[in-house]
């Protein structure tokens, strides 16, 4: 318990200089935590399970917000064509959107960091192969590569995660390599090598923790990028399957009803999507600003 408290205060010490005096960034952070909370606990806090066909009633279809459903409950945000409660579909959609983005960013960043470390440590042909692959990736826009992947391999939650990973890893590998290279010039790495510590251990225990900071700064930006990209691809019908609708697919479902005045089916998931990305971007901007030496020196001037 004490240990937990200690860890908590360390976290506070890290967060305080970044966020204090920046109310918008704090609001963004709180908003993001709230969205993650809703996504994680959606099955317990959502008014209904929108994918349980047994409880859906077609008579409840296309009701506007605040309507009473057949079973006596209120659909605060209305229902879609199949009679699903929009509030619940948005909560479940948030869950899928965040899951896909978290997976893609975590796996993509890990791959990128490992390849970057390998490139820095091994040099030679390993380095040139990895860095040429990075150049190759960076010269194409991510959305196009993802479309390419999905056109070739078809759609599905796993496929879209792969497609997003391809967009994430390269910049991380480049950044890790350059920061690891400057780290390797320092004496403690020489000392470790002389003491006969195996190279993989040097890589994971010495180089990794010391060269990962600039990569971590980029992570929030990647996360919001992945959420947006997944929503776009799903909206276009090449992302997640209909059985697991993310926010993007929910918007696409409601898009057909927008022109007939049934705005709530698209507008609510869309608003949540924009707010989610906005919260993350506000936090990401603040973290980047905090870590940019140019801007920091201006603050002091």
């Amino acid at each position: 318990m004490i240990k937990f408290k200690e860890k908590f205060s360390i976290l506070g010490e890290i967060l305080k200089p970044i966020f204090s005096g920046h109310p918008i960034a704090i609001a963004g952070l709180i908003g993001f935590i709230l969205f993650v909370f809703i996504a994680v606990f959606a099955p317990w806090i959502a008014p209904q399970n929108p994918y349980d066909l047994m409880i859906l009633d077609i008579m409840d279809g296309l009701l506007p917000p605040l309507s009473k459903l057949g079973n006596g409950t209120t659909a605060w945000l209305g229902t879609d064509a199949l009679g699903r409660d929009i509030l619940s579909t948005v909560m479940y959609g948030l869950r899928i959107s965040l899951f896909v983005a978290f997976m893609a960013v975590t796996i993509g960043t890990s791959i990128g960091v490992l390849l970057g470390l390998l490139a820095a440590l091994k040099g030679g042909w390993v380095e040139s192969v990895i860095m040429r692959a990075v150049d190759l990736k960076v010269s194409f826009p991510g959305i196009l590569l993802a479309l390419m992947m999905l056109a070739i391999f078809g759609t599905g939650v796993d496929k879209i995660i792969y497609a997003l990973i391809i967009g994430v890893w390269a910049s991380k590998a480049r950044l890790t390599r350059s920061s690891a290279l400057s780290e390797m010039k320092k004496e403690y790495i020489d000392a470790a090598e002389i003491s006969g510590i195996p190279r993989w251990r040097i890589m994971l225990h010495f180089l990794l923790p010391n060269s990962i900071a600039p990569v971590l700064v980029m992570v929030p930006m990647s996360l919001s990028g992945c959420i947006g990209a997944e929503a776009t691809l799903s909206f276009l019908g090449v992302g997640v399957p209909i059985t697991e609708p993310s926010l993007g697919l929910l918007i696409a479902n409601g898009n057909d009803y927008l022109l007939s005045g049934k705005w709530w089916i698209s507008i609510f998931p869309g608003t949540v999507l924009v707010l989610l990305v906005l919260c993350i971007n506000v936090v990401a901007d603040r973290i980047r600003e905090h870590n940019n030496p140019y801007l920091k020196s201006q603050d002091q001037q």
Binding site: S139, I143, M148, L150, A151, I152, G248, S266, Y294
Partner: protein
Amino acid sequence: MITYICKRLWQSCILAVIMSLIVFLGMYVVGDPVEMLADEDWTEQDKIELAIELGVDKPLHEQYFSFASDIVKGDFGTSFVYNRPVLDLITERLPATLEIALLAMVIGLGIGIPLGIFSGIKSNSRASKVISFFTTVGYSTPNFWQAIILIMVFAVFLQWLPASGRGLTNSMFGIEWSLLSIDGIRHMVLPAVNLAIYKICMQQRLAKSGTQEILYQEYMVYARAKGISRSRIIRRHLLRNILIPIVTITGLEVGGLIAFSTVTETIFSWPGIGKLLLDSIHMVDRPVVVAYLILITLMFVVINFVVDIMYAFLDPRIRHQK
């Protein structure tokens, strides 16, 4: 300089070959075209004959060479759906895409850069904070969602602008352009603005951080100390220095705009190559998808090559690099 160009050209060729290999192998992995084209009542013999006709009975490397040599000859095959040469389909739709991409680029640069410089110079003013807030919201809003809002506001509620199609086109040099008719321009406004919003926001942010970094460089302080007028400092010292990266990046941005136009074109039913790609993905029109991917990769290889050469012209350090 010539050695540098040759080296880059060689690298570009390798890049093109690698990308064509990736697309080819990807298509090979996906499935047997014979199974896709064959009807249920076909015999084994029919299938083998079709395989020979399509050339898919040969070993993999031979298939790749015939695929690659067809491309070099400009033969991208025939669309399953439209039953016409794929290259015709694409070249027909390319002007529509270029048209909105270029218009979006002009709007994006024309509004984004001045906004960015202004909010960089007066970074503590209220106006700058308001601008930065709006651009943060702008680039946090996915492109397709902006498109939906634009359609809802300007086409459905206000009914000022049409929300789909290209409108009247007039031909110039044998190509149809929407830019040449009032109706066509009215149709272009929403898709072009949709593409441009993201550009405006990104340019504003780039120009702002560029301005803030340059503002405290020693030569700026020196220029101010010399008593040079404010507007002259901005024009000669600031603008030139932030324009160099922006101008060179612009080449790559055109490519990015064309990639993003898949989304915009689909929502606004704009008959460009992006919509063609998505339609073809949905209808499993493989020759069109392959041709699009190959052509867009070639385009990117060329753009990257040109940008590298431009960098080398602007920056002697790159030119003399070993």
